[in-house]
Symmetry: C2
Subunit: 358 residues, 2 copies
């Protein structure tokens, strides 16, 4: 276990979106200042951070200056280039570690890693060319989904294959990027577990939430999920297994499919996760503070849930409903301060109390 | 009722201490950016604000530029010079209004105002000179306390009079400032009510908390206070009376003495209040967001309490206990990011859950 950061220390955050913004706010509660690194103009996190560096992820001089100005580095997204990590790691600890990043940056590596832990995933295979895709579709029968191995999120870089005839079109949609074919999982529901692991190996997991999507984007997370106690325990044990296997420090999101045959791991995200936003109004210590505690080498907080909550994302024009939502005495708003609204852009979320809890 | 601010609007905050810091964080949840005005170096609020102006309160050019850059102005402390208010009010709305500030800046005006509302205060009288002090001590008998009319907080600018012989020394301690003599109130306990009023006149009050002090500084606030249901109702009605009388917009703190003869108003503070910090972990909408909602012309949030909480201030070296406190699963820390520790400086507070609530 490394030395805990003293209040007043500075935490560097790669990425200045809404996750970086809520991490910065959580860090302030523990007396930490945050320095945001983001390539874009007006990142939402900069409005609540002590310092902002605007530079590209291949600007090694800017990365080095950033790393020298902070006590620890964390990130809000998993697609950080390896060369950027090289530059940063030489000067400051990066948490979670690069193994967690590497595994989650590549769908093939991720599924191989998960299967290596004895966990169940969708059937999958690497696809090099059209002949290989056709051959693989004989064992991973359609419907299936072809995905780029890297840089995919919210349904991007994916092509559905409902019959063998779709193969060529699907492969063309990958634009030559290395691809992975995944078989469909016939699931009852999708849940996710937000787990955390400290520098001392301590683990804390929040109750699993149940997720629904719209147009490939998370729409709602509801806690508690409609699962049995045994399924909830399984979900938490899976998260703990992944956290320990990666010698992980920080918060990790694990998405799982609930099937009659048991839980199937969909994917892992080495960061705070949209499906954990309910913790802001359902727990004494939310996922953002939990992540900051972990990367700062502090003791983890209690992850006990004190309320039943439905978290709904506000996408695009949903933001226009903010004032109406503010009138609901059971609703807590969390808006991201984004100056421009786009149809598929996450503009905020609302946590609505369903019941005072268990 | 004025037009509510749209998300993305900017709120100006006079004062960059811990209250400004927590207001800025709360504003970020509603998508607002904050601009802090503070004369000192490294104000804690600047670490979580979009913009900082460092200037004195008599720098009218800086005040004007600040006012032009924001959509509404609020403040974290009541001792704002009248000339500064003149400069600001010409350019942007200031909430709460200057009547609330004027009344709370002057102990004599404050007590006169409260008495005018039919509320009970300690016996009091203005004191011009030693002869007047001696004469007044015949009706307001010692023990009594002599206070400067203006600029007092946390026990500063006060002198206790236990016998008529102390009069000259006590008056000398006022350094020639206009003074007020207050009789002691024999109270069972001190409570406070945090109330809020919106631009539409809507009022919401949090449950009264019970306060204890150490060395003249708030030490703990505990909710619920050990008072009867009737006393709790009286306290809330007193706060509502003050809010309406001042046509108030924002959060107001009202300190009350509980006596066998009923509630006695000690003082009012036209801002978020240290004794309301428990709301951060006891309510869906805390006093900071409530204040932001009010000054932004938004609907007030629900003030229902969902837990029993003991808030303890971390003063001076208490901050060294932060890591130990973080190990308590019932404790939520709120540190202020102050770089320098001084013996009587408020460095943070901890909200400790006593019970999951009613």
């Amino acid at each position: 276990m490394s030395e805990p950061l003293a209040p007043g220390a500075t935490i560097g955050i790669l990425g200045g979106g809404q996750l970086g913004r809520m991490l910065s706010v959580a860090a302030s509660r523990l007396g930490f200042a945050c320095h945001i690194f983001d390539p874009g103009p007006n990142p939402p996190a900069a409005q609540v951070a002590a310092r902002l560096t605007t530079a590209a992820y291949d600007d090694t001089a800017a990365l080095a200056a950033f790393a020298r100005s902070v006590d620890v580095i964390t990130y809000e997204f998993e697609n950080i280039p390896a060369a950027a990590l090289d530059a940063l790691e030489a000067l400051a600890p990066v948490r979670p570690n690069r193994r967690a990043l590497a595994v989650s940056q590549d769908r093939l590596d991720e599924k191989t890693f998960l299967r290596g832990l004895g966990l169940t995933t969708a059937p999958f295979a690497a696809i090099g060319d059209l002949a290989e895709l056709h051959k693989t579709l004989e064992t991973i029968a359609p419907p299936a989904i072809l995905k780029t191995r890297r840089l995919g999120y919210d349904g991007k870089g994916q092509a559905r294959i409902t019959a063998a005839d779709d193969a060529a079109t699907a492969l063309a949609a990958m634009n030559g990027a290395p691809a992975i074919l995944e078989g469909f999982v016939d699931f009852e529901r999708e849940i996710s577990v937000i787990g955390a692991r400290g520098t001392d190996g301590q683990i804390a997991c929040y109750d699993p939430g149940e997720n629904t999507h719209r147009d490939g984007i998370l729409h709602q997370t509801t806690v508690p999920a409609r699962i049995s106690r045994a399924q909830a325990t399984d979900a938490v044990l899976i998260a703990a297994k992944v956290l320990n296997a990666l010698d992980y420090v920080g918060v990790l999101g694990v998405e799982l499919f609930v099937t009659p045959a048991g839980l199937v791991v969909n994917e892992i995200a080495p960061r705070v996760h949209n499906s954990g936003h309910w913790t802001q109004n359902g727990c004494l210590i939310d996922q953002f503070e939990q992540h900051i505690r972990a990367v700062a080498g502090w003791p983890l907080g209690d992850a006990t849930r004190h309320a039943d909550i439905e978290m709904t994302n506000l996408i695009g024009d949903d933001i226009a409903r903010a004032l109406d939502l503010a009138r609901d005495p059971a609703a807590a708003l969390h808006l991201y301060g984004k100056s421009q609204t786009r149809p598929d852009r996450k503009m905020g979320h609302v946590n609505r109390l369903i019941a005072p809890g268990k």
